[in-house]
């Protein structure tokens, strides 16, 4: 069993138009920049994939990663908890122009809905958002005298995530807070592709330290020395690069 994919282009080759794509990361930490940019390359070359629904905590920053996907017009809808941050100008402009849809989900509910999707739990109850605008239209129920909102699972066609080590079976580790949503998304997508900073042999990762077991992973592609979204944005980077 060898889940290695030789190139970034191959890793994102089979994502269709209209797909729902979970993308790991919280702000820049854990953002699979190289996978996202490979997807943009494919779109620029072929016109696909377009009309994507993207699930991520945020809505991109600056002009790289998810922001660049939005800027290129690949994204129909964002599902996220916090589309407002330091420089989400690309999303903000599109949103205020009515050109992109937004489903706003409380952060813990977003995480739990993704976990539920991966764990075969079609719905659950949470106290979060009870009595607020974000609970409008959702079933509520009382348990032990307290009121809760029913939330549904979230699944995706594809998840694109960033990991640290990945062995050929797809077992993964992450790096510090870059872990965030990625282990959940890996379970909730029909196919998950992980860019890993280092591809290693089975047995090179301590079985006690595996965070995502290989059963959840469709393929890994090695990207050593991956870019950090935060560094790119501090350097005012654009993707694709703006040439003079």
């Amino acid at each position: 069993m060898d889940k290695r994919i030789p190139t970034l282009a191959q890793a994102v080759a089979d994502i269709p138009d209209g797909a729902t794509v979970m993308i790991g990361g919280f702000g820049g930490s854990g953002a699979p920049i190289e996978l996202i940019h490979a997807l943009i390359d494919r779109y620029l070359a072929t016109g696909s994939p377009k009309n994507l629904t993207v699930i991520n905590n945020n809505a991109g920053n600056g002009h790289v990663g998810i922001a660049a996907m939005i800027e290129q017009g690949m994204v129909r809808k964002m599902i996220c908890s916090f589309p407002r941050s330091a420089d989400p100008k690309v999303f903000t402009d599109r949103y205020l122009a009515g050109e992109i849809e937004l489903e706003l989900v409380p952060q813990g509910t977003l995480a739990e809905r993704i976990r539920a999707g991966g764990a075969g739990i079609p719905a659950f109850y949470t106290p979060t958002s009870y009595g607020t605008d974000l609970a409008k239209g959702k079933p509520v129920a009382e348990f032990d005298g307290r009121s809760y909102v029913q939330e549904r699972w979230l699944k995706a066609d594809v998840a694109l995530i960033k990991a640290e080590l990945g062995d050929h079976h797809g077992n993964l580790t992450y790096r510090m807070a870059a872990r965030n949503f990625s282990p959940l998304m890996a379970t909730a997508a029909a196919k998950t592709v992980a860019q890993v900073s280092r591809a290693v042999e089975p047995g090179d990762i301590d079985p006690e330290s595996v965070i995502t077991p290989g059963i959840f992973i469709g393929g890994i592609v090695e990207v050593s020395d991956p870019a950090q979204e935060e560094d790119l944005n501090r350097a005012n980077a654009y993707y694709p690069k703006v040439t003079a």
Partner: protein, 223 residues
């Protein structure tokens, strides 16, 4: 000619349908035997409910580590690429549909895919383990079983009479006499032992066996 497969032979036959790289859960007891018969060149990855993916065979007697056991509480071994996880993550794999195949034993299987394999009735201490989760988790839920009970009664039935493990969950049954698919609420005969006639097979089956194309010969090695 063989007139009835041994358990090992049933397990062998079931193992032939497991693809290279498949993620597989084998029920406690008889189904565990399937692991022994992986065809050459194929490597399945085995999952056990108590939190291991990718474990290996039993260790030599005396070399057991009782923190490294399977769901049947038998000692297993590590292989390169093993991962440990807790019980909620383990059943997320199951319930979330991430396993390719689960192979379970059965008291009864009905033509609509209902399975009864956890309780023979109200006597004694009831125990269910992970069976009720497994039948709803794997992409393919197969049963391996004798074709009939010890006293010769059919185990493949129009409807189960024992308490159910799951509703409409089984898709294929490997028995001591035949390989039977469950499709659209019917038993469809795929293979049978050459030694048994279709009539005789029907006589020990509790619901109609439908045909859908040719019936193959169920041929297995001596085991």
């Amino acid at each position: 000619m063989t007139d009835k497969l041994t358990n090992a032979q049933i397990a062998w036959r079931a193992a032939q349908d497991i693809a290279d790289g498949a993620y597989v859960n084998l029920g406690i007891g008889f189904p565990e035997m399937v692991a022994r018969f992986q065809p050459p060149g194929r490597q399945a990855i085995f999952h056990t409910e108590n939190g291991i993916l990718g474990f290996g065979e039993a260790p030599e007697p005396g070399a057991e580590d009782w923190d490294l056991i399977n769901a049947g509480k038998k000692a297993v071994t590590l292989k390169p690429g093993t991962a440990f996880f807790h019980h909620a993550d383990s059943f997320a794999m199951v319930r979330g549909g991430h396993l390719d195949v689960a192979i379970l034993g059965a008291y009864q299987v009905a033509q609509n895919g209902d399975l009864a394999n956890w309780s023979t009735g109200p006597k004694g201490v009831p125990a269910v383990g992970g069976a009720m989760d497994l039948v709803h988790g794997a992409k393919r839920v197969a049963v391996i079983t004798d074709h009939v009970t010890k006293d010769g009664k059919p185990k493949l039935l129009a409807a189960c009479t024992l308490p159910l493990t799951g509703v409409g969950c089984v898709t294929r049954v490997y028995t001591s006499l035949a390989v039977v698919d469950i499709q659209d609420g019917r038993f469809v005969l795929r293979e049978k032992l050459p030694a048994i006639s279709l009539d005789n097979l029907q006589a020990v089956t509790g619901a109609e066996l439908h045909l859908d194309g040719a019936v193959g010969d169920l041929v297995v090695p001596e085991l």
